[in-house]
């Protein structure tokens, strides 16, 4: 469905990290995944972007062998997740939506334990745990009980645990949801460092800025459908180029919207005190907008021609906004009822 630029030859020859075909998963009446097909090579970061309830976690659970799909096929690192789950588990790491670390163990003990469960010997587990804790910058706190960690540190520890088995493909489900903005930036930097080492990563997020910053390729998912896919730039181009964005005074908003409607050609949007119209004719649309405002004796606070943001893409595709990354809402603690219900 998506026209994509041909990958470079060396990319094309690389092995697929993930390949799914028409994955369907329903829970009672809820269709969580409605025929999802995604595919990406090793060595890239794939960002799955979608609002709450879009099906992101469900897809991760299928790919990490936690959930059998009702229909469709899925391969991770070239291995069928349904036919051969144990082999897949040897090659993956998962950090779920909620940090699955034990508060009464130390950071080191947590990571070492996961290493042992990856069948590393006691010494190997220890060495690997030290290595990942060092990379994740938790070595100083390694011997403290996790109950003394902040939320951001717990997420980092969870990330460390998911990497201790040196997985071929790493899955991070909403790695920064529910943590404070400062820790979020730290975590982004960490993830960037990790992937610069060539780790293959599938991450899900509700935040555009996160997907934009971390991913080589972005898939937008909504209501169990993959509705668009491509690099951040491809997605923005697909919206049809630039937009004109006009900021106005509060009291001018209604009048300005009325004045600009002919310029927008029906596609005008308002967000608070800013008005966005597609720049169908580029700078001429900008000039037209200035003229119309002038005629209406309205003075904009700011007017600019800009490339569309991922949010514009999201809105045009789904009809609603994505979450605003600037103020991540703090999610309530997980409750197991939903997770486990069938």
């Amino acid at each position: 469905m998506v026209s994509q630029t041909e990958p470079a030859p060396n990319l094309r020859s690389r092995m697929k990290a993930v390949r799914t075909q028409n994955i369907v998963k329903t829970f009672g009446d809820v269709v969580a995944l409605d025929g999802v097909s995604i595919e990406f090579e090793e060595g890239i970061v794939y960002g799955l972007l979608g609002p709450n309830g879009a099906g992101k976690t469900t897809l991760i659970r299928v790919l990490t062998t936690l959930l059998k799909p009702d229909a469709g096929t899925a391969e991770v690192a070239g291995i069928d997740v349904i036919e051969n789950p144990v082999a897949v588990r040897h090659r993956i790491g998962l950090a779920g939506q909620f940090a699955a670390v034990d508060p009464f163990l130390t950071g080191m003990e947590n990571v070492e334990m996961v290493g042992r469960l990856y069948n590393l010997s006691a010494q190997e587990a220890r060495r690997s745990a030290e290595d990942v804790l060092d990379r994740i910058k938790l070595m100083d706190a390694a011997n403290r009980p996790v109950s003394t960690y902040s939320g951001g540190m717990r997420r980092r520890l969870d990330l460390a645990a998911s990497m201790v088995g040196r997985p071929q493909v790493l899955f991070l489900d909403e790695p920064t949801t529910g943590i404070d903005p400062r820790s979020r930036l730290d975590l982004w930097e960490l993830i960037e460092e990790l992937v610069s080492g060539g780790t293959t990563l599938l991450l899900t997020t509700q935040y555009l800025d996160e997907a934009d910053r971390l991913s080589d390729r972005i898939g937008i998912i909504d209501h169990g459908h993959l509705i668009e896919e491509g690099t951040s730039n491809q997605l923005k181009d697909r919206l049809g180029g630039s937009v004109v964005e006009i900021h106005v005074q509060d009291e001018d908003r209604v009048a300005a919207t009325a004045a600009l409607t002919p310029v927008g050609g029906g596609d005008i949007r308002t967000e608070g005190n800013s008005i966005v119209i597609p720049a169908i004719e580029g700078s001429r649309t900008l000039a037209a907008a200035v003229r119309r405002l002038d005629e209406a004796h309205l003075e904009p606070r700011d007017i600019a021609l800009r490339r569309p943001t991922l949010d514009d893409v999201f809105l045009s595709l789904t009809g609603h906004h994505a979450e605003n990354g600037a103020s991540p809402e703090v999610e309530p603690a997980p409750t197991g009822g939903r997770r486990g219900r069938r």
Partner: protein
């Protein structure tokens, strides 16, 4: 990508044993590092012991059983309390599992190349370790209250072991309940549902022969009476066995049958439920 046979198939038994030990260690550490948890799991059985012995003890008629003179009831009670404590303690299995389920820990475990049975076995083994500690403490308190073992140290130890093994078997019942109920709150109440009638309609606290006929029929044939009688038969004076109509050898055999039977049936059910309930 080629898949080696070892990876394609189940986890080897050796690896499964390591995984079980790793999980058991984690769960034991939890008990050790949260002393409040251990404190409250010991306070309750000690309270039962004190209340039953000093509040009801004087009023309970053992029919003149030649158990141990003036402090006869404590010698009736201790074997029963050991079983009760082990069975109550088994509810920790349901609680611990549901806590792991809700915290997403089980998801992590299930994404790892580890044995499916290890999460459950590691949990039940850790609860056995904790139960062993609590029951040892009960013996010390019981000793101070006048309890004595009359058939030698080895038989006493065998009795304690049977109570603990039954508690272990009951942990598998609790594992199944936890995996079905899925939340700690539900597991807490559901876990005690089978426990109360089994523990109280039994010979744990009182002889069954004063119960109405229909209840006595149930009490005499359910596993907790069998286990409590077995433990008792290994601790009270030998001359009391005939008086109380306890056949030690037969009781031990029945106890082991119950223990093995429960582990097999509920072990199977739990592992099956574990595989499907979480995905």
């Amino acid at each position: 990508m080629t898949v080696t046979a070892e990876q394609a198939h189940r986890v080897s038994p050796g690896a499964a044993a390591v995984h079980t030990a790793v999980i058991a260690k984690r769960n034991v550490l939890r008990v050790i590092r949260l002393p409040q948890l251990l404190l409250f799991s010991t306070v309750q059985p000690v309270m039962f012991l004190l209340l039953f012995n000093y509040v009801f003890g004087g009023a309970i008629n053992l029919g003149g059983a030649p158990i141990s003179g003036s402090s006869a009831y404590i010698n009736w009670l201790i074997p029963g309390i050991l079983v009760q404590t082990a069975v109550f303690g088994a509810t920790a299995t349901a609680l611990g599992l549901t806590e792991d389920l809700t915290a997403g820990v089980i998801d992590r475990f299930r994404s790892l190349p580890m044995a499916r049975s290890a999460v459950l076995a590691g949990r039940t083994i850790a609860d056995l370790v904790r139960n062993t500690f609590v029951n040892s403490l009960m013996l010390v308190v019981g000793f101070l209250m006048g309890w004595r073992f009359e058939q030698g140290f080895f038989k006493m130890l065998l009795g304690v072991a049977i109570a603990l093994l039954f508690g272990y078997a009951f942990s598998w019942v609790m594992a199944a309940i936890g995996l079905i109920t899925k939340t700690p709150e539900a597991a807490q109440s559901a876990g005690f549902l089978p426990i109360f009638p089994l523990v109280f309609a039994s010979s744990v606290f009182v002889p069954t022969d004063t119960m109405p006929g229909w209840l006595q029929a149930f009490a005499d044939n359910q596993p907790i009476t069998v286990i409590a009688n077995t433990v008792r038969s290994l601790m009270i004076p030998e001359e009391a066995l005939a008086f109380l109509d306890l056949d030690q050898g037969a009781l031990i055999a029945q106890s082991l049958a119950w223990i093995v039977g429960i582990i097999v049936v509920f072990g199977y059910l739990s592992v099956r439920q574990y595989k499907k309930s979480v995905g």
